[in-house]
């Protein structure tokens, strides 16, 4: 008999973990059931990651005909390179901006929709649609809205005297990609926040309002602390999203420009590796990116989880 412990983590539950034990007669079946997932993980995650680690230690020409082992030289060059350091700071600004914007707006919307009774499902359906759009298309949509020649937003901004041009202005370009990336993620955050809000017992809120607490006080002292498991989970997911899944949005709108103003780490990996054909440097950059995200996640789990009220 084989025991398999399945841990089910639920961000909405008030209990932290639920342990379920499954028993299987014989040894073959559990391994057979796990095999597809393990094989997929090995082929699509472990193998490429290993390949990237190996390639980051090499210097090759584009065709792979001359390969030299150079140890950590690729990494050292990156940290001496001004454009890589720029990319680090750009990514930090972008990740923080996207996460803050998308989570704040999503929480606002979820709090508002939570108060509705009859139209709740309609609003929820409509607010979830952006999540279904492919990131590249989302980028193109926002490209049209903000296009300096034909877009509606620059037209309106010009009436207040601001000439929007994300082709010339680095800050305009950063704003554009933050809006586009945050917009997509708002739906996802909204759903989780809404579910989290709905799992808060009404009795607590009613008791607080009977005691004379204003809506703001109610929110910050009762609702928000009870939302912390959801918030923590979404923080991790949003940061990972901003660091990795936003490649398509950058590619479709600014291509890292103008003058490297939106050249986030994951885009730089593509630009250096596939356009510049410098595979060693590109592999080193993806290794560093992986280390950064792993470190960020570990920090979040270690320090922020302590403040989460389960």
């Amino acid at each position: 008999m084989l025991f398999i412990d399945a841990y089910i983590y639920s961000p909405f539950a008030e209990l932290p973990m639920q342990t379920k034990r499954m028993t299987y007669p014989g040894r073959f079946l559990p391994y057979a059931l796990l095999a597809p997932q393990v094989i997929v993980t090995l082929i699509f995650f472990i193998w490429p990651a290993g390949q990237a680690l190996y390639q980051s230690l090499l210097r090759e020409d584009a065709f792979g005909l001359k390969t030299t082992f150079v140890g950590l030289e690729n990494f050292a060059r990156l940290f001496r390179d001004g454009s890589y350091l720029n990319s680090l700071s750009v990514t930090a600004v972008f990740a923080i901006g996207t996460t803050l914007l998308s989570m704040t707006v999503a929480l606002l919307m979820a709090s508002t929709v939570n108060r509705m009774i009859r139209s709740r499902s309609t609003y929820t359906t409509l607010l979830v649609w952006p999540y279904a759009i492919a990131p590249a298309l989302a980028g193109v949509l926002w490209w049209f809205i903000f296009n300096p020649s034909i877009g509606i937003v620059p037209y309106m901004l010009e009436m207040v005297g601001y000439r929007w041009n994300h082709r010339n202005s680095g800050s305009d370009a950063m704003l554009l990609v933050i809006f586009a990336a945050a917009w997509k993620q708002i739906s996802y955050n909204f759903l989780f926040f809404l579910a989290g809000l709905q799992s808060i017992p009404q009795s607590l809120i009613e008791a607080a309002s009977i005691d004379g607490a204003s809506p703001t006080k109610r929110f910050w002292t009762i609702i928000f602390p009870l939302l912390t498991p959801t918030t923590f989970f979404l923080l991790v997911v949003n940061v990972v999203y901003a660091m990795f899944d936003t490649f398509a949005i950058i590619h479709a709108t600014t291509a890292g420009g103008p003058a490297q103003a939106t050249n986030i780490l994951v885009y730089k990996v593509y630009a250096d590796g596939f356009v510049g054909l410098n595979l060693g440097s590109s592999a080193a950059q993806s290794v560093i990116l992986m280390v950064i995200v792993v470190a960020l996640t570990m920090i979040q789990f270690r320090f922020i989880e302590r403040r989460v009220n389960y």
Partner: protein, 441 residues
Amino acid sequence: MSRFTLHALAVGVATASLSLSAQAATEISWWHAMGGQLGEILEEMTEEFNASQDDYHVTPSYRGTYTETMTGAIAAFRANEQPHILQVFEVGTGTMMNAKGAIYPVYELMEAHGRAFDNEAFLPAVVGYYTDTNGNMLSFPFNSSTPIMYYNRDMFEEAGLDPEQPPETWEEVADFSRQIVESGAASCGFTTSWPSWVMLENFSAWHNVPLGTLENGFGGMETEFTFNNELVARHWDNLHDWQEEGVFKWGGPGSGPDSEPMFYSQDCAIFFGSSASRADVAANSEFEVGFGMQPYYDDVDGAPQNSIIGGATLWALQGHSDEEYEAVAAFFEYLSQPEVQAQWHQQTGYLPITQAAWDLSKEQGYYDENPGADISLKQMTLNEPTENSKGLRFGNFVQIRDIISEEMEAVMTGDKSGQEAADDAVERGNDLLRDFEAANQ
């Protein structure tokens, strides 16, 4: 059916299919980057080759931009899935030439299959760009272009300018543009596609000023950039000042994707683009188009010199059978015939690669019927090329061109002066040149 009939039928079918497979043409694949009108013309030309004989069949396949096509082919090569023929743009020449195990030099290919391939038949500017230090051609010239000036004749008239007289110097370009903008005919004077190619590379050659040491890189991989000179800095500062005035509008870095739409929408009156944009310009402009040569600064000695080519050549990749290379050689021979070249040149605006094709077009009266179609040729052959105007051969130039247009963009936004941007571009470019040298020792 009786047994005899059945057997007879079986033998008959077998023999028929045997002879069919014996006649099956050798299949070769061609990866190219010609989209839009150019792609259609290319496919027609390939179909004509396929229809003209039974032994070989070429399948062209559009793979995206030049960069995407080249990157895709390199990835395919690493996976042993490479095509037979690959169209690589001129800035990829450095990378391709140094990939000795990946390419099959064209002069060797043609010799091995007994096909004529004479350097002398090609235009000198083309030959110069694609030969190695021993004078052997490594790739097959296919579509070479050079930047020319397209202008809106209707708008010139509206602004009170003579539509037969395009501006010749940069001062004239600025003056004409001011007149156009002031008269209200357009909101901008001129714009450009491919800013690095037009406003640095060709600009330097046209003024007989070097881009780098060692004959712009032809002399070896130890070359260094020297384009952070006074003339280039002055020109980039001028572009910035003209943009402030409204005379010039920046069309974006890289390929300058916003520039062509601005010309078609009659936002800008003058457009600097490849001579091969002719087909697209003809299809998309609802006004009379004029053609002119690139302008120059008349206070520079030696200007105008001659322009350098852009465009692409066809490379044969290693890893295929002898039979398939036979097909490639036959296709290349077909492409170098004067009739085929002349038709390709006339339909697309690319230069006729051979002298014979140029002569044939003259005989056919093509240039009389289409004034301005030979501007590109006139520019290229204006003078005998010097070591500053033969072309360029720098490794990693795909990335370096992006860096150059990025630095130019910084000048346009006012973040840097022309000299600062040129200095930074030289520094960053030299880093990449050293990288290339190290990776290809």
